[in-house]
Symmetry: C2
DNA sequence: CGCGCGTTTGACGAAGTTCAACCCTGGTGG
DNA sequence: CCACCAGGGTTGAACTTCGTCAAACGCGCG
């Protein structure tokens, strides 16, 4: 069953070997001395902002691993209403599906680098490397837990709670490494994207952020960066402990 | 690596062998002549309505496969607001998680039969039967797609569209087999559960159903059964094509 | 019979959307 | 070099949908 792929050059294996985010992603399930196979199975792409990676309803042909930047995943209604179901950033994969077609769309938010695996290659990896499959199962299970948390947000939280949850999640999940700048939240996406992610309108998002700013819970650096002044109060807001 | 479990009786293997819903579930990944191992790894439980299967935040010790009835999965906020993230019925599993604790709760809706796998046993099955793991990956991937669809509903659909989507999903996904009763939707759960699933209040759910009834799109049999008179119009409503 | 639970219906109010105007910033071209 | 323009963001006022509160209904069960 195991099929060996022949290595045709030195640069391919080099790519995966020096990949800085390998141990953040599913690729860390492949052994160091087998990286040639991984490198051969995938192709690295660099994509400008607002590039469509996946067209909703199109044939499922590829699987992507994000190595730089942020990709938004979404579903739409015929009349154009859109719900962003998640942001895939460094270390996350996208494009897994059982059906023959994608049930969702994907578009780059900023400049993005991905490794693309065509479906047959992915199948081979799954078959040959049990650890890879296990790691993928773990990853999908995590995604599902996140999706459930988001359903709670969309179904039961107020606008304030949604925005607070969003900022908090981005703060803890993607901390700014710069010393003394720990509580800076980076928001590469536009207000439209945030609104479509939180199930609100851009006006409500804008008003809510302004309101949090007036209350000194956050402070704006610019439109794509926010400093959290009181993580505690933000946490309280996010879990709905404002009035109780 | 493969560990053989010893069979200690005839009835255990019999249970899985005669299991009528096996090929609807992850268990169909296990070969007929290996069913003894499956039977040994699991225990069948019968549970009355409103039984807590999983306590939110408790230690993750077991994995369940539903063989009869319906289980609701949910997440809650400290003040009691609740979001039902899905209903697991015949053939579906529940209880998979990466973390050591469950991030969600689970409770039976009606009388339920489950097969319970303790975590160590599940690990063994995953390690020894690649097909089982593959099947589970497929199942979780499907769950994720469903979750995304539900996010679209919760974030972007109106009350009418939500109720229509819900009824339609239950109709196509769980057709009534009785001849001449094809368009009967069974609703084992209460209005509270429906509301908590759709991100609405019981009053709004009730009003919306009444409204659909007045418009002759559906007809009520009793409170836990509804006949769909016009699947086409329901479909139109569900996808938001009312005004366009 | 009467109690309790789940459901339905109505009147009212609040949260968030819609519509519209305005502002700010960065890029382009005269 | 600066004016203009376009796209994203903010703010305000009116409106709509859905939630809240309250009352009544119906059904099953002790």
């Amino acid at each position: 069953m195991r099929r060996r792929l022949v290595l045709n050059g030195g640069e391919d294996i080099h790519r995966c070997l020096v990949c800085e985010i390998r141990d953040q992603s599913v690729c860390n399930a492949i052994d160091d001395n087998e990286l040639a196979i991984l490198a051969k199975a995938s192709k690295q792409l660099s994509l400008p902002p607002a590039t469509t990676l996946i067209e909703e309803g199109s044939a499922a042909q590829a699987f992507y691993n994000v190595t730089a930047g942020t990709v938004k995943l979404f579903k739409s209604l015929p009349d154009g209403r859109r719900q962003i179901t998640g942001f895939a950033d460094v270390g996350h994969f996208l494009g897994l599906t059982n059906a023959g077609t994608y049930s969702f769309g994907a578009e780059t938010v900023n400049t993005v680098q991905v490794c693309r695996f065509m479906r047959p290659q992915l199948e081979i990896l799954l078959n040959d490397y049990p650890l890879f499959e296990r790691r993928l199962l773990a990853e999908v299970t995590d995604e599902l837990a996140e999706a459930q948390e988001q359903m709670l947000l969309l179904g039961r939280k107020t606008a304030r709670e949604r925005v607070a949850s969003f900022l908090l999640a981005r703060m803890v999940h993607r901390p700014c490494q710069v010393k003394g700048e720990e509580n800076i939240v980076s928001l590469p996406m536009t207000r439209v994207d945030i609104a479509d992610y939180l199930g609100l309108t851009i006006e409500t998002v804008s008003r809510t952020i302004s309101s949090l700013r007036r209350e000194k819970i956050i402070a704006g650096t610019d439109h794509h960066g926010i400093r959290v002044l009181s993580p505690t109060r933000l946490q309280g807001l996010a879990s709905g402990q404002e009035h109780s």
